[in-house]
């Protein structure tokens, strides 16, 4: 089994250091390297890595912000990397969460890797719960669902707040995210995106559309059982009868 690994550190040299060490591991394939939080969020969504080495302190969005944005539900197993974070490390120790300190101790690094391998062989909710508990200890509300989406375009990454989204429509392998008159293309399937969004806030109403429940103004049913959702901005989205139940449940 190869472990598709993403490296996240704001420091070029530190990334090279992780790379150096991981090259010797035959089961590790490095699928990407990110130098800031925003591109890390985009890379996690897009590449769906098996394992992420995540620096905690980065300017702008730090490691915990990355987790909050991606949502614990979609977050792959993480090995935290940090130079000095007394409080975070205490919480990690308490909840048995993997981390390595910079400068990196070779033996400790191997230990972290073998823990990660074990976790990957027995996937389950346990790691997510441990991370949630540690974040809770640190006064950071653990979030199961994505709070932000990172949209990659040429040379930059745009972060959008999930609550601002009106609706999302499928466009081939992409998802078209509609915020007012603006459109953002996200390279992710609707099914995957649905898994990251809080089901209390978003509803899948057809194979091709997700709507923000708060934006729904009206529901028009047809004889066939299909329906049309009218949003507050005036737009109409066709809903399929197969998804009717989900929407009914949420609108009540």
């Amino acid at each position: 089994m190869t472990i598709r690994t993403l490296l996240v550190d704001d420091e070029t040299v530190a990334l090279r250091g992780l790379h150096q060490r991981l090259l010797r591991e035959t089961d590790i394939t490095i699928v990407g390297q990110c130098e800031d939080g925003a591109s890390a969020i985009a890379a996690i969504n897009e590449l769906q890595p098996d394992l992420v080495f995540l620096d905690i302190q980065m300017p702008g969005l730090g490691g915990f912000d990355v987790i909050a944005a991606v949502g614990l539900e979609q977050m792959p197993p993480v090995i935290f990397v940090t130079a000095f974070d007394q409080f975070a490390l205490r919480a990690f120790d308490v909840h048995a969460i993997d981390y390595v300190l910079k400068p990196i101790d070779g033996a400790r690094f191997q230990q972290a890797l073998s823990w990660a391998r074990q976790t990957l062989q027995q996937p389950g909710e346990r790691l997510k719960e441990r991370i949630a508990a540690a974040l809770d200890d640190l006064g950071l509300a653990p979030r199961r669902w994505a709070r932000r989406l990172a949209i990659k375009s040429v040379g930059r990454v745009v972060l959008i707040e999930v609550r601002d989204i009106d609706r999302i429509e499928a466009a081939g392998n992409y998802a078209e995210i509609c915020i007012g008159a603006k459109r953002h293309l996200l390279r992710e399937t609707l099914a995957s995106l649905e898994g990251r969004l809080d089901p209390a806030g978003f509803a899948r109403i057809s194979r091709a559309a997700i709507v923000n429940i708060e934006r729904v103004r009206e529901l028009q049913t047809m004889f066939s059982g299909d329906f049309v959702v009218l949003l507050k901005d005036g737009s109409q989205v066709a809903g399929s009868r197969r998804y009717r139940e989900t929407l009914d449940r949420l609108l009540n």
Binding site: E11, D36, S39, L101, K102, P103
Partner: protein
């Protein structure tokens, strides 16, 4: 017992003691003159006199608070107390003339006026220094209190200083920076031994300087800039092309005196925020120039500028405390939005050359 009740009790206690002593003295002296009087009678006379003064004492104390016998208004206070002393001595005698017949005083005339005139003539000059004595004691207590207050304030200042010193050390070099720099050395020594070697030397320079410095120490601007150069050189190695910097110092200002490592936290913030901008590399501009007889030091970055001025002001409270300690009101320190959306930290301190420079 409240403080004011305790004060009243102490005043009456002291005067009772004085009255008792003087009564005994009078009793002894009359006995030696061969005209013995009862000790109880002497006590009644002197206690009446003493308690009247006890009643007047708060007035005297008030007057000391109002006209303390201290520079710069010493003469004015002396005149005020002389007049007040005469008035209070007269008042004391007037009141005593009321009580004199009832306590069996020896100097009693046929009516109050006669008693008063007689007492005024024989005891006014004795009662005047009594007022002086009360004022003297009050003034002495006042000085003791002031000395104690000064001592308390000095201790407080010392504690503040010690704390500022400690914070300054931490602010100069964050542990985070240190360990990251060590990590850089660890990676580089496998890639390029010479570069690793250089970083290690720079890091040692920084550590040495940070360990030597303390909150109130000043050093030459040249040394401060050397420190920042070493710091930025390490950061530049860590972040490569994502960080650039420029230092512009008027050569004539090289020997100017600046608080040790005062710019370090500002530069550290600038690096952090300069790197936070995704689209453009971080850029730090450090400048020193002369404005009249003041020295202006600025650190500017091109990071995202929003709301930082207010936010970072809090993190730099230690910097502010040091500047206050060193220069009092003779400095200014502000954070403002820079032209290109970044933040500009500007520090203005008196321009002074190092001694012997």
């Amino acid at each position: 017992m409240t403080a004011s009740k305790r004060r009243i009790a102490m005043v009456f206690g002291a005067w009772t003691l004085v009255g008792g002593l003087l009564a005994t003295q009078a009793w002894v002296s009359y006995a030696m003159r061969g005209e013995p009087i009862a000790w109880g009678r002497a006590l009644a006379i002197w206690l009446a006199w003493a308690w009247l003064w006890a009643l007047l004492t708060p007035v005297a104390l008030q007057l000391v608070e109002r006209y303390p016998l201290e520079r710069p208004r010493l003469a004015r206070a002396a005149i005020a107390h002389l007049l007040a002393g005469a008035a209070l001595a007269t008042l004391d005698i007037a009141l005593f003339a009321v009580l004199a017949p009832r306590v069996g005083s020896l100097n009693v005339g046929p009516d109050w006026w006669a008693t008063f005139s007689r007492l005024l003539g024989t005891t006014f000059l004795l009662n005047l220094p009594v007022y002086g004595l009360v004022v003297g004691v009050a003034q002495a207590l006042r000085l003791v209190r002031a000395a104690r207050e000064r001592e308390r304030r000095a201790l407080q200042l010392e504690a503040q200083l010690a704390e500022a010193r400690l914070l300054a050390l931490r602010a100069q070099l964050q542990p985070h920076f240190l360990f990251n720099a060590l990590n850089t050395v660890q990676v580089l020594m496998r890639e390029d031994v010479d570069v690793a070697d250089r970083i290690l030397v720079l890091l040692s320079q920084l550590l040495r300087r940070a360990l030597e410095s303390c909150a109130t120490q000043e050093l030459e601007l040249r040394e401060e800039i050397d420190f920042l150069e070493a710091y930025l050189a390490i950061e530049k190695t860590r972040f490569d092309s994502r960080l650039s910097y420029r230092i512009a110092v008027d050569p004539q200002l090289q020997g100017a005196r600046v608080p040790s490592l005062i710019l370090q936290p500002l530069v550290e913030n600038a690096v952090r925020h300069g790197l936070a901008g995704q689209t453009s590399p971080g850029r730090i501009d450090i400048a020193a120039k002369r404005i009249g007889d003041m020295l202006e030091l600025t650190v500017q970055d091109n990071g995202p500028g929003m709301d930082r001025a207010a936010h970072e002001g809090i993190g730099l409270s230690n910097t502010r405390a040091r500047l206050r300690l060193l220069y009092g009101s003779q400095h200014s320190f502000e954070l403002r939005a820079a032209g290109e959306g970044g933040l500009l930290a500007a520090l203005v301190i008196p321009l002074r050359a190092m001694e012997g420079a």
